[in-house]
Subunit: 205 residues, 2 copies
C-alpha cells in the first residue's frame, strides 16, 4: 500500500570482493530492468544475473526497493556530475555551446537505454525522494537554472518554470525517440536543440 519505511543501509562493504558484489548487483538490476522490464525484475533474477546468491544480495540491501533506490540515486548522481563538469568547462564560452553540450549529456543519458531510463523515472516517483535523491536532482536542475539566470536571455516564463519546461520538453522528445527505436543521436540532438532554443526565444542559428 503506502510506501514503507525508507530503505536503510544494512552492511557496508569492507573488503574488495563485497564491493564488487554490490556493484554486480546494481548492474544486474539495471540490465534486467532494461531487458525484461518490471516483470522480470525480481530479487532472485537480479542475484542470478549478478552471479551471486539472494543471501548475499540481502546482506547489502535490506529489501528490493533499496536496490532500486540505489540504482535511481547513482543514476541521478552520475547525471549531476556530468552536467556540472560540462557547465564548469564551458564557463568562458558562448551559452549556446554550453546548451548544446548539456543537451548531449542529457540525451546520452537517456537515449541509449530508453526503457531503463523510463522505468527509473517511474520508480523515482514510487519511492519518493527521501534517500538523497532530492539533492542530486537539485544539482542537475541548478546547473541549467543558474545558466539561464546568469544569461541575458529574456525568459518566456519565470525562471523555475522555464527551467522545468526545458528539461521536460527535452525529456519528452528523447523518450519518444528512444521508444521509437531511433538511432541517430546527432539528429535527435539537433531537434532538441531547436526545441530548446526556440522555446527560449533564441535564434536557432
Amino acid at each position: 500500500m503506502t510506501p514503507d519505511t525508507l530503505p536503510k543501509p544494512r552492511k557496508s562493504p569492507v573488503q574488495a570482493r563485497s564491493a564488487a558484489t554490490v556493484e554486480a548487483i546494481l548492474e544486474a538490476a539495471a540490465r534486467i530492468l532494461e531487458s525484461e522490464g518490471l516483470d522480470g525484475y525480481t530479487t532472485n533474477a537480479i542475484a542470478k544475473r549478478a552471479g551471486v546468491s539472494v543471501g548475499s544480495l540481502y546482506q547489502y540491501f535490506p529489501n528490493k526497493d533499496a536496490i532500486t533506490a540505489a540504482l535511481v540515486l547513482s543514476d541521478s548522481e552520475l547525471m549531476a556530475t556530468r552536467m556540472q563538469e560540462v557547465r564548469a568547462s564551458y564557463t568562458a564560452r558562448p551559452i549556446r555551446e554550453c546548451i548544446d553540450a548539456l543537451i548531449d549529456v542529457a540525451v546520452c543519458h537517456q537515449f541509449d537505454r530508453p526503457m531503463l531510463a523510463r522505468l527509473i523515472d517511474l520508480e523515482e516517483h514510487r519511492l519518493g525522494q527521501d534517500f538523497g535523491l532530492k539533492a542530486a536532482k537539485q544539482k542537475i536542475v541548478m546547473v541549467v537554472r543558474n545558466l539561464l539566470e546568469s544569461s541575458e536571455i529574456d525568459l518566456p516564463f519565470d525562471l523555475d518554470t522555464t527551467t522545468q519546461d526545458v528539461f521536460a520538453l527535452a525529456h519528452g522528445i528523447t523518450d519518444a525517440a528512444g521508444l521509437n527505436g531511433e538511432t541517430d543521436r546527432a539528429h535527435l540532438n539537433a531537434r532538441i536543440r531547436h526545441a530548446v532554443l526556440s522555446y527560449l526565444g533564441l535564434p536557432t542559428s
Copy 2:
C-alpha cells in the same frame, strides 16, 4: 452439454447488468492505477473496488492484461475521437486556434490524472499494439500530421519527425507539470502553446 471444450473467448455482455459490470471493472482498474499504482493493481483489488467478484471479472476478461489492454485502448480511442472532433470543428478557422484547442484536449487528457496517464503509457509498450491500439494511435497522430501538412508552415524537420516531436514535447511538459502537482491548466496550456508554436517557427502572438 457445453458445445466447446477448449478455452474460448470470453463472453460479450448481452444483458444490461453485465455491460455495467464490464464498465465498473474498467473504471475500478483506472482508479486503482491512479491511486495505488502498479503495486495495488491486482485482479482481486479491481474486482473488489468494482463491487463484483473475481469470477465475474474473469467472465469478461481472459486475463489481467486484457483488462489493461481494454483500458489503454478505450483511453486512446477517446483521445482520437476528441481530437478528430476538434479538428473538424475548426476547419474554417485559423490554424493557431485549432492548435490551441488540440493542446487543450491533450492537456485535459493527461493533466487531471497524471499517474494514470503515465502508467497507461508504460503498459502500452509492455502490451504491444496488437489489439487495435495502433489504429487508434494513428488516428490521433494523423489529426496533427494532416493539420501541419495542409498548413503553409515551413516545418523545421520532415513532416513525421515534426509531428512526433510536437506530441513528445507537449507530453513531456504536461507529464512534468502533472507530477509536480501543478493545478493551473491555463498556465500549462500557455507554456505548451509557446513551446509548440516556437518549435514550428510561428510567432507566439
